[in-house]
């Protein structure tokens, strides 16, 4: 009898509870991974995905303590007795945020970090480091500074650092979270390439729709620390809650037919094209005299009643553009008007009365000891009187439904709550326009729709503008889409007109989604773009 080679990874009856918690993070997990296979591990945040990965790569129990039971076999050998340095040569882990994983100032230094720790001689390090870069087709980045390269490149450099350790198993923890759609697809195809070379890959992701394009061999779905489903895609779509993870639009429509769908209307006033709130006149911008121009001849009018999505890939100039409106940056050439006043003559504090700008990450602005003080900060800076401040704070906190947390430190709240506090902190200034940078970043699918729904239905704004690279977000919520590519406005108009040409979408480094396709099919019946659940009522 011939004995089969042991599998790269076998997990049996694995449970873990963190020392400081009262509930276990994962319960009786069993699964196996074959060489050359990609396993998609799907689930919303808090489902235990990250804990499972930490058990496999040894961070549990080496760096995180708690109650651990069950076993993990790497090529037939239990990982319990192995040192982290030993495990790291069998199991490579790519963490969610490459910014926090990259440890070297220069690309080759980063790629060789693990090899330095193994104490390898220099020639060996350089050989292995270059081979890893070559394998990911990024050898040209070898001597670049890690700080200056793009997000997609950072992801690949971090992966090269993991591959240089020559693992046979790869754990990828939400690797698409910080990438724009085109870079995400590139990364996915790279993962497939690695699997085809024999790597066993476990891919944790809640953007299920995107991952399906590379046809993972196995799909595991987790909820509340347990595996609820293990099988193929057909099986998955029948089992899971489509609100929790993002499935292809056709599937959602099928499933949603059976359920009643609430009607959704944004709360902005009717369109008024007479008095533009913001106006850009031939705006050009460069950061300094030596730097290249990043915005070219921008002409734009924004009116009350508009919900605008500014679409574009990472680095296309979206954020630079909206910063001009607030006066955080001033045009090098051309003019920007805010309610008819040129921004050159305005302080940012004055401009903030017109535009409330919510930054991408709430932790970049939260500082006060209580939510109440956090919300009063803006109106106080704007010089409002005590009574107005108290009234605004009350209104803002009620609008985001966090009345009970008024005396909690904002830093102690969950990410989703912090995000709402950061919106409320802008609401309390009672600006006329709400402007948001990547409003759904860092939130999983479960939170992100509910979050956008509630913002769009908030009273008090004449216009809402958001920056995103997520096409679905733009087509569901916006009544006008502006596409920015390399600092130029390449399209501006109604969603149905702007997104008509799929070839152009590709050129803009965006990705057409199944929801977009379905919406075009249904357009004769619907007359407007809708979310998948809402499309269901138009199906026969």
């Amino acid at each position: 009898m011939v004995e089969a080679d042991p599998l790269p990874l076998v997990v049996r009856d694995l449970s873990f509870q963190y020392r400081s918690r009262t509930e276990p993070a994962i319960v009786e997990i069993s699964l196996e991974l074959h060489p050359g296979e990609i396993m998609l591990l799907a689930g919303s945040s808090g489902c235990g995905k990250t804990t499972l990965l930490r058990c496999i790569n040894g961070l549990i129990p080496h760096s995180y303590r708690g109650k651990l039971s069950g076993e993990i076999l790497l090529y037939g050998q239990s990982n319990a007795g192995m040192k982290l340095a030993e495990i790291s040569q069998k199991v490579g882990t790519l963490l969610q945020d490459p910014e926090r994983q990259i440890l070297g100032s220069y690309v080759l230094n980063e790629v060789c970090f693990g090899l330095e720790n193994l104490g390898l001689p220099r020639e060996e390090m350089i050989r292995r480091g270059e081979a890893a870069l070559e394998r990911l087709h990024i050898l040209h980045l070898r001597d670049k500074e890690t700080f200056g390269i793009s997000g997609g490149e950072k992801q690949k450099v971090a992966l090269a650092g993991v591959l240089a350790m020559q693992p046979k198993i790869l754990l990828l923890d939400e690797p698409l979270a910080s990438l724009d759609p085109a870079s995400a697809h590139e990364a996915l195809h790279l993962f497939r390439e690695l699997a085809d070379q024999g790597m066993a890959i476990m891919l944790v992701e809640h953007r299920v729709e995107d991952v399906l394009t590379i046809e993972p061999e196995r799909i595991v779905y987790m909820e509340d620390g347990r595996i609820c489903f293990h099988g193929d895609i057909q099986g998955l779509v029948q089992v899971v809650d489509y609100h929790r993870i993002k499935l292809p639009a056709q599937v959602v429509v099928e499933r949603a037919k059976a359920e009643p769908q609430p009607n959704f209307e944004p709360a902005v006033p009717p369109l008024d094209t007479n008095n533009p709130l913001i106006e850009f006149q031939q705006v050009h911008f460069r950061y300094n005299d030596d730097a290249p121009e990043v915005l070219h001849n921008i002409n734009l009018k924004i009116h009350a009643g508009e919900v605008i999505a500014i679409l574009g890939h990472n680095g296309s100039g979206k954020t630079t553009l909206v910063k001009q409106a607030l006066g955080l940056l001033k045009p090098t050439k051309g003019k920007v008007f805010l309610e008819g006043v040129e921004t050159h003559t305005l302080t940012v504090a004055k401009a903030a009365r017109t535009i409330g700008y919510v930054f991408q990450s709430p932790s970049q602005m939260l500082f006060a000891p209580t939510v109440k003080e956090e919300l009063s900060f803006g109106p106080k800076n704007l010089g409002f009187d005590q009574e107005t401040i108290a009234r605004n704070v009350q209104w803002a906190i009620e609008t985001v439904h966090l009345e009970d947390e008024l005396l909690t430190p904002p830093l102690a709240l969950s990410f989703g709550q912090q995000k709402r506090v950061s919106i409320a902190a802008v609401l309390s200034m009672r600006s006329r326009i709400l402007m948001m940078d990547e409003p759904t970043a860092g939130q999983d699918y479960w939170n992100y729709q509910a979050f956008m729904d509630s913002i769009l239905q908030m009273p008090g704004f004449d216009s809402i503008i958001f920056i995103t690279h997520d096409l679905d977000l733009a087509l569901i919520y916006a009544n006008r889409i502006i596409v920015l590519n390399d600092g130029v406005i390449v399209a501006d108009g109604k969603p149905v007109d702007v997104l008509q040409d799929r070839q152009k979408i590709k050129q803009w480094r965006l990705v057409a989604t199944s929801l977009l396709e379905l919406n075009f099919q249904m357009y004769p019946k619907t007359g407007k773009f809708l979310r998948a659940e809402a499309l269901a009522q138009f199906m026969d």
């Binding site: 963190y18 020392r19 400081s20 918690r21 760096s63 995180y64 303590r65 500082f367 000891p369 430190p409 904002p410 830093l411 102690a412």
Partner: protein
Amino acid sequence: MEEKKKLWGFETKQVVYAAIGAALYAVLAIATNMLQLPGAGNVSFRPAVAIPMFFGVAFGPIVGFITGFVGNILADLLSGYGFWLWWDLGNGLLGLIPGLIYPTIESYRASKSIWRAEIFVVLGSLIGMGLASISEMWVSGADMNTVIFANFLPAFISDVINGLILVPLLMIAYAAIVERSGRD
């Protein structure tokens, strides 16, 4: 936490805190130099000194020392000011001395902890800036009076005031996030 805090531990976690602290101190020192607090007179005010003090209190004396020592070196290197070992060591002590109370702290928002931190902030500034100033006598040949008026007092007063105000604010903010890490 049930386990006792180790005063002098230096594992991966401390390496990261020390490195992040040093980088932060350097960046904030340069940033606040550029902002130039108005009305502070001829005393060069550096609110960033609160960083090594706070990192000492939050993560122990070694982290505090490296934050101040390496941070000051990096700030000087980045500004092109060169390398001044005795002032770097003095900045290290700004963080090390408040770091001595690290094992005694249970809650970062308790007024007991804050008072204790404040006392050690004063001590740290006194010893740290005192040492750096005295070494100036040996290096530059200045006399005691000169050292006191030209070096010690401006540095000491600025560090103490900034530390006394900002360290408690940082401690209170930190109290809100301290429970969020699951790592040992």
